[in-house]
């Protein structure tokens, strides 16, 4: 049996060997046929695709009216209802802060701010800002009405709002390019430039930008502990009101480089209780692109405060006094923007306390900001604080800010 199997294999082997070339020939023939079939199919497919493309183009043309004498749409598209009426947003501004004086670590909700704005009627719009923080309760920061259709380029604003003082005094904290308000501003105009009163703004009807605001208020800034002619609390006589004027102008140096100049003067008339003079200048390079380099802002502001201030009695209570104090302060900063997401900057600030002749302070700051998106921001700031009389301090702050809901940049905080 084994022998028969061996003989059969021996006989079959030549047959198998002879059959290989024949199989190869058959396979080659089939391959050629398949290739031809593939080429024919590809040709058919190409023709079909071409026809399809032509039909698509024709369809598009018919839909869009490319060859028709008149556009297809018979009437304008009706826009949907304005989803931003009213525009509502909420800002969460939180921070972690520490310093080398050993005051520890401080997590803080610096501000939670609800902002609502809307047109009221064809003549008026309004906005309100309600803010709270770890240190203070929820409060109405601003609630103001603004006219929209007065003649002669006039605008009237009334209610509670941040008076149009200088550049940064009327910015909300989270809108600033730093984690803190410049100490010089905070000392001379504490609590932003919060005021209750009315403002009249006039835009000159000429090619060149010139705008002036005149205002009258109970007071400017939060100085609750002082008598009415100095502070922000209580009823007051007409001459204890605060009067303000703020002209500003602007020059385009090139298409992308410009400078803006402003001046501020406000006073409390009674006995010349207070005169505050301010100047601000801002140089901006704004290419408006989203390339890596996206411009810079160089800004400075200086305030001179001339105030017939108070004395302090033996019990430490503030009493009206006759002595005039001339105290100044200001800052200068540079911020550069890179790669849509980053900015870095430095600031120098010189601050004097309006009531204390020896309390002067220099602050050197460096800050870096990362914008993961338009609606979120992380900022780190280092401050070297050098009081003229006192111990130096170093402060580190990490700020995390996010914007919920409607978010747009207003003209005043550009």
């Amino acid at each position: 049996m084994e022998l028969h199997r061996a003989l059969a294999l021996l006989c079959a082997a030549p047959l198998v060997l002879l059959s290989i070339p024949a199989s190869a020939l058959i396979a080659e023939k089939e391959l050629a046929e398949v290739k031809a079939e593939l080429a024919a199919t590809q040709q058919t497919l190409a023709t079909t695709l071409d026809t399809l493309a032509k039909v698509e183009r024709r369809l598009d043309q018919l839909e869009s009216g490319a060859t028709a004498p008149a556009p297809v749409p018979s009437g304008p598209r009706i826009p949907p209802v304005n989803v931003d009426n009213p525009a509502i947003s909420f800002v969460i501004d939180t921070a972690l802060e520490t310093d080398t004086h050993g005051s520890g670590w401080d997590f803080a909700l610096r501000s939670g701010e609800l902002f609502i704005s809307a047109p009221i009627d064809p003549f008026l719009r309004g906005y309100a800002s309600l803010a709270g923080s770890s240190e203070e309760g929820f409060d109405i920061e601003e609630a103001a009405l603004i006219t929209t259709s007065l003649p002669w380029n006039l605008t009237v604003k009334g209610g509670r709002f941040f008076a149009d003082v200088g550049r940064f005094p009327h910015w909300h904290g989270e809108q600033l390019p730093f984690v803190d308000r410049p100490p010089s501003i905070e000392r001379l105009i504490p609590g932003e430039s919060r005021a209750e009163g009315a403002e009249l703004t006039w835009l000159a009807p000429i090619e060149h930008y010139f705008r002036v605001t005149a205002g009258i208020y109970d007071s400017i800034g939060a100085r609750d502990e002082l008598p009415p002619e100095y502070g922000s609390a209580g009823d007051r006589a007409f001459d204890q009101l605060t009067w303000l004027v703020h002209p500003s102008t602007y020059f385009d140096l090139t298409d992308t480089l410009n400078v803006e100049l402003g001046g501020t003067f406000f006073t409390v008339a009674k006995h010349g209780a207070r005169y505050l003079y301010g100047v601000d200048a801002t140089l901006r390079h704004q290419p408006g692109t989203s390339s890596f380099y996206q411009g810079f802002v160089l800004g400075s502001e200086w305030l001179w405060n001339d105030e017939k201030f108070h004395n302090v009695d033996d019990a430490g209570e503030i009493i009206p006094g006759r002595q005039r104090f001339n105290h100044n302060g200001g800052y200068a900063y540079l911020e550069s923007f890179f790669g849509r997401e980053y900015s870095v900057g430095a600031r120098f600030d010189y601050a004097e306390e309006p009531i204390d002749p020896i309390d002067r302070q220099r602050t050197y700051s460096a800050f870096a900001t990362w914008f993961p998106s338009e609606f979120q921001r992380l900022r780190f700031q280092f401050d070297q604080i050098d009081p003229v009389h006192g111990q130096n301090d170093q402060r580190f702050t990490l700020q995390w800010t996010a914007f919920l809901g409607s978010h747009s940049h207003g003209f005043s905080t550009r």
Partner: protein
């Protein structure tokens, strides 16, 4: 040399006539256009009857146009405001109008001309969820990149000008007819010119090419931005590179307002070519008109595609 009274009077009369003619020239409808494309269309349609100033530069990212006080004075003195619309100007125009003291050019005013009113918007979001990026609630506003939509923009502008200035209605209609004929001729040329783009797969920097892609048959596969308006993250770029390799994407379209190095890096990693185009007229050299801008964009795309095929 002494002048006689008659000579002095003649000179004064000539000066007066010159002044009056200058006044007449200045009496042209004072138009402020938000974007270069609608500015050019307004000029083409209105001719000498309009004087047009533009806010945004062609090289700028429409979402980053600075809010400059000099724009406020332009808007304050404007007889007409022409916008591209669909919210493209949201980053700067509301802030400018807030202080321009010119109620007639507010969106509710008679002299506010919205060039998008005949556009059927694409990519209208079904919800305003910011986790999906900075979406335009009314739809993608970059319809000007499709010249057929350009015709509809021109129609809206001509009708708006006639509404504000009825005395010039026939002039604006004639201007529209001429401009539409020009665009029709160009569109036929561009359709043929752009034939090699049909079926080409591409990625762009921002999600702004949907109308252009639909018109010329380009298949958009993704964007360098993570989401509209949200910068690229490393993770997103890795995914994009993988997708481009898998889908054999050989074209990276970089809009001129956006950074080039990132587009180049992605192109190098995928063996793709970079084509630089502009979403606004004037963004590329020698493209001050809308027609020139469309043409330059197509040429840039074709050049990149042809170079990719040759390599």
């Amino acid at each position: 040399m002494a002048f006689r009274p008659v000579e002095i009077a003649s000179a004064a009369l000539v000066a007066l006539l010159l002044t009056l003619s200058a006044d007449a020239a200045e009496a042209a409808l004072r138009v402020v256009a938000s974007m270069p494309d609608v500015a050019d269309m307004t000029r083409q349609i209105g001719g000498e009857r309009v004087s047009v100033e533009t806010i945004a530069l062609g090289s700028q990212d429409p979402h980053k146009v600075p809010v400059k006080p000099s724009f406020v004075t332009k808007l304050n003195r404007a007889d007409v405001l022409v916008v591209q619309g669909l919210g493209l100007e949201h980053a700067f125009l509301p802030a400018l109008l807030e202080v321009a003291s010119n109620p007639k050019i507010l969106p509710t005013g008679a002299a506010y001309i919205d060039a998008s009113i005949y556009i059927q918007p694409l990519e209208v979001p079904t919800s305003q969820n910011r986790s999906q990026g900075e979406l335009h609630p009314l739809g993608n506003p970059h319809f000007n990149l499709d010249p057929v939509q350009g015709k509809l923009m021109a129609r809206a502008i001509a009708e708006g000008l006639a509404r504000v200035d009825p005395a010039g209605a026939s002039r604006y209609q004639a201007g529209l007819d001429r401009y539409t004929a020009l665009l029709d001729g160009k569109i036929a040329e561009w359709e043929k010119l752009a034939a090699p783009l049909r079926g080409v797969k591409a990625v762009s920097y921002h999600q702004d090419l949907v109308y252009l892609a639909k018109r010329f048959g380009i298949e958009m596969v993704g964007t360098l931005e993570t989401k509209p308006g949200v910068p690229a993250t490393p993770g997103h770029l890795e995914e994009l590179v993988d997708t481009m390799k898998r889908e054999q994407v050989k074209l990276v379209i970089r809009e001129v307002a956006y950074e080039l190095p990132l587009a180049q890096t992605v192109a190098q990693r995928t063996g793709a070519r970079v084509a630089t185009i502009s979403t606004l007229a004037g963004g590329l050299p020698g493209t001050q008109t809308y027609v020139d801008s469309i043409e330059a964009n197509l040429e840039a795309l074709l050049q990149a595609v042809q170079e990719g095929s040759a390599s």
